[in-house]
Amino acid sequence: MSTRQAGLACRNLRVEYERFVAVDDVSFDLAPGESFGIVGESGSGKSTVLRAICGLAPLAAGSVQLTGAESALTAPAPGGKAFRRQVQMVFQDPYASLHPRQTVDRLLAEPLAIHGIADAQARIERALDEVGLGTGFRFRYPHQLSGGQRQRIAIARALILEPQVLLLDEPTSALDASVQAEVLNLLEALRARRGLSFLMVSHDLAVVTHLCQRLMVMQRGRAVEFVAADELAAQRVVADYTKSLMRASAGFSRTSAAHGARSSRPLPPS
């Protein structure tokens, strides 16, 4: 296990697209070694928070700080190469996030080349082993892999730089239930082995509480509730929106559905 676990401190994050505020004054801490979840429906800004952290969305205000053993002064600044070496992201759709004309070998060599890491050969083999694929997959193209195998490659690509923080954007929502279980188990095992910190976004409460100890509920760009996973499991939640998410995840029922349909607000056009 690594001795240099890292976390994140996010303060007053704000992301705007022209006049639309996608993320509005969101603050939270990811403790070193912790796994923290963000839930909410589409458009709530949960993915944008992850994208803002790794520099894929512009921050209009607020700060992101890598925390952990290093002092605040020496911690790498967001957006820089050193920060990215510590913080890597796994995207939602493994069909879209892997270059279709690059072999697995080339996909995994890219981050190593960018960061000038020498022993690519050995690292690629080790990364493939670690995600349970083996070197037989090394010279295949993404289209020759199943969805679950692709997501394992995406995880291997994120882990090959040996980061301390992994940003997971709906890592299993494009996968079948049985494959989802395999990928969740893999993520858990990797976290235990390497002492990683996870920041995971999902719309599925059961998946988030399986992997995370604490979570933040977002609605319309704001954080509406912070709750521990076991409190959520015991139904001790405060915000109305969290309650409706919990009802929804319990499945369809004729009585609550009639109620839900009546009380629902009209949806704003997206």
Partner: protein, 278 residues
Amino acid sequence: MNPMLEVENLRVAYPAREGGFNEVVRGVSFTLGRERLGIVGESGSGKSQTGRAILGLTAAGGRVTADLLRFSGRDLLSMAPRERRSLRGGRIAMILQDPKFSLNPVMPIGEQIVETLRAHHAVTQRIAHAQAIDALAAVQIDDPERVFKLHAHEVSGGMGQRAMIAMMLIAQPELLIADEPTSALDVTVQLQVLAILDKLVAGRGMGLIFISHDLRLVSSFCDRVLVMYAGRVVEEIAAVELHNAQHPYTQGLLNCLPQLGAARHPLPTLDRRPEWAL
């Protein structure tokens, strides 16, 4: 009385690169009355291909055979393409997964609904317009006059899916095939859409085939569930009896989902047996 839909030994095959055919649906049989039937399986299990074959939407090059494929007493496979076309969207309708891709992007939503109605019923433009507005209101769209004029990219996923339901129901079909109708939607919106669908199906006495990968959702919504694996139905079960499922594949699918309040680390995974695919 005959059931509305009779399917016996349905097979769908596509040409393989090495020559010959790959069967993706391998002998599916079931009958459907005025009830809600769920078809569940993972990607590649043949569930969508089954639905498309019933509608006659199998992709070009595909080969559909069946001992029996009958809709209200009429053989679908020997029917002239013209007749089949008049059934499609009229007496049999299909709701597709993602409104972003299945609505026409360059035509206002309301016009698409009007087009569907006028393709199957001889009504004037005025009456069609009024009925389209009613249909949008029936799926709980608040300002139907406004939404009528909007394009697909101007509405949210949930509203797009409601518009598609309105479009599919306007010709008053007897059989509705819904292929993952709520998978592209948020959980809270999912339930609203299902509630609308439920009310309409119950109110009109339609037959419904609900295709989904989500075993729990389907079992909470349907009366009866077919579980498909590798192109075959491995188990048929009443939805309320789901927890008593016999087939190890069904049990495995139920078991591998994370559950709120039940810490299971690691999650049980599915141990796929080669004999399931025989």
